[in-house]
């Protein structure tokens, strides 16, 4: 039985806010394959190209035939819990604060036996389990054994919550509530149980539909936030930065210009000012406060979400300056991730294909609906992944990019 997550009490202001700690982080380059897959929400192990053996832990050569071609392949994770233990004592500073901690050994149906964190819903050994990969607080891939069937309060498991960023009872800042995506996000995080949602809005004199309905929702507060205004970002960070547990930066300027289609740089600069410099301004002002609150009890600061675009990977020349601004934002987001890692705060990059928005009016479907994008972001928080490619276009382009980036460059050019 997993007890349901209690609504957290208010913080006791006479107690020190604890400093964040991380589980052991070092990994071999081979072992980082597990992390790379877990970052996408996948459980992958090496499979020997020569003899087909599945192996764990990851190594440089096949344990059976010494073959060195060991591609990572997705695993079903089905297996048998053959042994378990509960740790009551540890010299590791991270686990010392989180005892007792349950671990087990699972013999995967695919062959190898793995060490996994045990979800509270798993029965005592021997028992059937389903192994999945998650990122731990250090941002490294680890294995978690889940019960084979859904159990009540599955996401509320104490050990699992160390690896996820569930919005339940958390305070969320969504940086732009004036777009359909922003409004879908507000609804989605509220439905996911967020305690409080701050919603940024710029240029209040521009009336756009939907904002008043958002403002009327319980737990939602509008805050003036214009990512092009450094002082305004600093002011709002001073005001609420010390309370934000999850920051979702969905503010963007999206126009549909290449280089030759519009003279001058005004549109490109406006895109860069929000999509790149806006993220930089937010990160400079909000990240320090969030890092300081990464171990602030049950509802600590936990995640930062950037709405990028699959065009960040490879330019869509018809939206070339937008692509460039998103590529710049992706690069900066990697820096933010590196700077957030010591605090264990997850930086989630979201790479949708074309959204079904005003500026993509003339693009044919499939396009990602704001609601589907919002669902994907909430799912990413619950699963604690790092990179999300919502929608079929994004998933396909990502696969093509991984396989042959030059070919994708040519394909995108011919689509523009």
């Amino acid at each position: 039985m997993i007890p349901p997550l209690p609504r957290p009490k208010r913080k006791n202001p006479v107690l020190r806010t604890r400093a964040p700690l991380l589980p052991p982080g070092p990994r071999s380059r081979a072992a980082l394959g597990l992390t790379a897959a877990a970052a996408l929400g996948r459980f992958e192990l090496q499979e020997c190209a020569a003899c087909g053996a599945v192996q764990y832990p990851p190594r440089e050569a096949c344990h059976r035939c010494l073959g060195v071609e060991l591609p990572w392949r997705r695993q079903s994770g089905e297996g048998e819990l053959i042994a378990e233990t509960t740790i009551h004592h540890s010299h590791d500073t991270f686990f010392r604060e989180r005892l007792p901690w349950r671990l087990g050994m699972v013999r995967l149906d695919a062959g190898p036996t793995v060490v996994a964190h045990l979800h509270g819903g798993c029965g005592t050994a021997p028992a059937r389990v389903l192994v999945g990969a998650r990122l731990d607080k250090a941002g490294q891939g680890v294995l978690v054994a889940f019960p084979p069937e859904e159990v009540p309060n599955m996401a509320d498991d104490r050990q699992l919550r160390e690896m996820t960023c569930d919005p339940k009872y958390r305070k969320v800042l969504i940086t732009d509530g004036k777009t359909a995506v922003g409004q879908a996000l507000v609804r989605a995080v509220c439905a996911a149980g967020a305690e409080l949602v701050w919603v940024g809005h710029a240029e209040p004199w521009k009336k756009l539909p939907g904002l008043e309905q958002i403002d009327a929702m319980p737990g939602v507060s509008l805050v003036p936030l214009d990512l092009t205004d450094s002082r305004a970002v600093r002011e709002i960070a001073g005001e609420i930065g010390g309370k934000v547990d999850i920051l979702i930066n969905n503010a963007e300027v999206h126009r549909t210009q290449g280089i030759a289609s519009r003279s001058g740089i005004e549109v490109a600069r406006a895109e860069m000012d929000v999509n790149y410099f806006g993220l930089l301004r937010l990160a400079q002002e909000f990240a320090p406060a969030m890092r300081a609150r990464a171990a602030d009890g049950q509802s600590s600061a936990t995640a930062w979400v950037n709405l990028l675009s699959v065009f960040a990977l490879s330019s869509f020349p018809g939206q070339g300056t937008y692509s460039a601004s998103k590529a710049a934002a992706l690069s900066l987001s990697q820096t933010l991730r590196a700077e957030m890692r010591p605090a264990g705060i997850r930086v989630i990059d979201v790479f949708p294909g074309p959204l079904d928005d005003e500026w993509n009016q003339t693009l044919p479907p499939p396009k990602v609906s704001p609601e589907a994008l919002a669902r994907a972001i909430v799912a990413a928080l619950r699963d604690g992944v790092e990179d999300v490619y919502p929608g079929e276009v994004a998933a396909e382009w990502f696969a093509r990019w991984r396989e042959n980036p030059k070919a994708l460059e040519r394909e995108l050019a011919s689509q523009s």
Binding site: E203, W205, K207, S230, A232, E266, V267, A270
Partner: protein, 260 residues
């Protein structure tokens, strides 16, 4: 004689018999800028980034970099701003004769009308009525339309948008022609975000104040404030734009001299 005038002016300024009134809104990021449909190019709002403040970025000095458009904040419109004035001589911020940038101002109080109707259009008849009380508008004077719009300190109220666009007061089309052709004004000044009314696009011609004033080589001032502190006649205003090469306008520090 002129030397005496200037000496007397300087003495009156020192003694406070002539007061200097600031007609300028503070340049701040929160002050709104003009809004155009998003597919058009946009005017930059005022933005400011700190360079250093007695810190590791510059230990003994404080300074900022700022950015804005030529038409941000309290600003001056040169004739080249509008297509009707594009071929006139000396039509840009660096070439307008500086003699034009200091001059008399007539102030028409439309604050009651604007309070009752945000789309209020100042008419030729209303100006003729004003002249019956205050005398004929002298040649080469500014006509400043006082609406107390600058007292709307909330940017939402100042911009006053609804789904049909902006609702702010301005001049009627026939008034602008009258001012140019029959009163030879140097320009028109407004407290709202443009010299034309918020719904000026729907007048004939669209944006008549821009079209006729700039087409005749005259100027515009907008986002003025403190017009309620000016007398109907007798003030002298200073409204020099920055000397931007071939600029269409510029933020200004607009000042008025008034009897103390």
């Amino acid at each position: 004689m002129s030397t005496d005038t200037l000496a007397a002016l300087a003495a009156d300024l020192l003694s406070g018999r002539i007061r200097v009134i600031d007609l300028t809104q503070t340049l701040a990021p929160e002050f709104p800028q003009i809004v155009l449909p998003p597919e058009f190019g946009q005017c930059w709002p005022f933005r400011i980034e700190e360079v250093s403040r007695y810190d590791e970025r510059g230990p003994a000095w404080y300074w900022n970099n700022f950015s804005c458009g030529e038409h941000t904040g309290t600003h001056f419109d040169a004739p080249i701003h509008w297509i009707s004035g594009r071929d006139l001589p000396n039509n840009a911020t660096d070439t307008v004769p500086v003699q034009h940038l200091v001059g008399r101002a007539c102030v028409i109080d439309c604050s009651r009308e604007a309070a009752a109707d945000p789309d209020y259009l100042l008419t030729r008849e209303r100006v003729l009525e004003w002249e019956r009380h205050h005398g004929r508008i002298p040649p080469r004077a500014w006509l400043l339309m006082r609406t107390d719009w600058s007292k709307r300190t909330d940017p939402v109220a100042y911009q006053n948008f609804d789904e049909t666009g902006q609702h702010t007061p301005g001049p009627a089309s026939d008034l602008v022609r009258f001012l140019v052709e029959e009163r030879d004004v140097i320009g028109f000044g407004s407290e709202a975000i443009g010299t034309d009314a918020g719904q000026g696009y729907h007048l004939r011609p669209p944006y008549p104040c821009h079209y006729f004033m700039h087409g005749a080589g005259r100027y515009g001032l907008q986002c003025l404030t403190n017009l309620d502190r000016l007398p109907p006649t007798g003030a002298v205003i200073f409204c020099a734009p920055l000397k931007i090469k071939n600029g269409s306008g510029s933020p200004i520090r607009a000042l008025a001299l008034v009897p103390g």
